[in-house]
């Protein structure tokens, strides 16, 4: 286990999520893919704060936790995003009877 292998795993997770967000037509699947991308980013933050720290470590050792604080904020935002996103999905399902993105085209015309 090294910094590079950790970063590569995180990058793979992020790219799988990106593929899912672009290539799927079900809204719920797209939201799941976005969660995958969030997790990739979180892993990157924590790995970098574990193995790489700028000179700040010399004056305050607590600064090695900065990456983890960022990850906490990302998790907060992800939770808020998913609550709202699923709310929108349900509203869309109520009005159009579908959760398929290619069929949700009311705003196009």
């Amino acid at each position: 286990m090294s910094l590079e292998s950790m970063l590569i795993v995180a990058a793979i997770l992020f790219c799988i999520g990106l593929y899912g967000a672009l290539a799927r037509s079900n809204v719920i699947a797209v939201l799941m893919s976005i969660e995958l991308m969030f997790n990739g980013v979180n892993l990157t933050f924590v790995a970098l704060s574990r193995y790489v720290v700028p000179q700040a470590i010399q004056d305050n050792i607590a600064s090695v936790l900065t990456g983890q604080v960022f990850a906490v904020f990302i998790i907060t935002v992800a939770a808020a995003e998913i609550a709202l996103g699923l709310g929108i999905v349900f509203a869309m399902y109520r009005s159009t009877e579908t959760v398929n993105l290619t069929e949700a085209a009311q705003l196009r015309y």
Binding site: S5, I8, V46, V69, V72, I75, R94
Partner: protein, 195 residues
């Protein structure tokens, strides 16, 4: 060291395999369950990198709340039977992430990272563990920290302290965001006829 490597590779295979399953499998319910597996594997990575607090938060919020929300969403929308169809963007959707992945891998491998020196690694691990468990003086002594100033410095480091000192503004903004999301989700879920 060897044990950590084995755990790392097992977790990596589980995480990547499950993540592929999430985006490829057509049955949405199974993808939701696989997504929970990805979250658990990521929590394992956090433990490996001695970020125990984040691992706990990950299990509580992602595995406990977000996966359940997804399963609810899958079961409440009857489109499930049609499953997770691909759309017409297949080729750009493969090419773009592949290029991005190549770029990120090249960057990760070729960058000359300024790693924390091995002599400091131990202390960094201690600080990150300390953010969850308060380490006693004797535990620190066992880990090779002897000078009282150093002990105090490590014992005073913690995520909570950072959140209410250096990051107090984002912390407050996050609470406002959560409140806004709460009200927004309520308004969305209640629908129009209830007003």
């Amino acid at each position: 060291m060897l044990f950590q490597d084995v755990v790392f590779w097992v977790l990596a295979i589980v995480a990547i395999g499950a993540a592929l399953g999430v985006v490829v499998i057509r049955d949405l319910f199974r993808s939701a369950l696989l997504l929970a597996l990805v979250f658990i594997a990521v929590a394992g990575f956090f433990v490996l990198m001695s970020a125990e607090f984040l691992a706990v938060v990950q299990v509580l919020i992602y595995v406990g709340a977000i996966s359940i929300l997804f399963i609810f969403a899958v079961m409440l929308t009857s489109d499930v039977r049609r499953g997770n169809l691909p759309n017409r963007l297949q080729i750009p959707a493969v090419v773009l992430p592949a290029l991005l992945l190549a770029a990120m891998v090249v960057t990760a491998v070729s960058t000359d990272w300024r790693l924390i020196p091995d002599s400091q690694q131990e202390r960094v691990g201690l600080v990150q563990t300390q953010s969850v468990n308060v380490l006693s003086d004797s535990a620190l002594e066992q880990a090779g920290v002897s000078s009282p100033e150093e002990m105090q410095e490590i014992q005073q480091a913690g995520i909570a302290d950072l959140l209410i000192s250096d990051f107090v503004l984002p912390f407050e903004v996050a609470s406002v965001l959560l409140l806004a999301a709460l009200i927004g989700a309520l308004a969305l879920a209640r629908g129009r006829e209830g007003t």
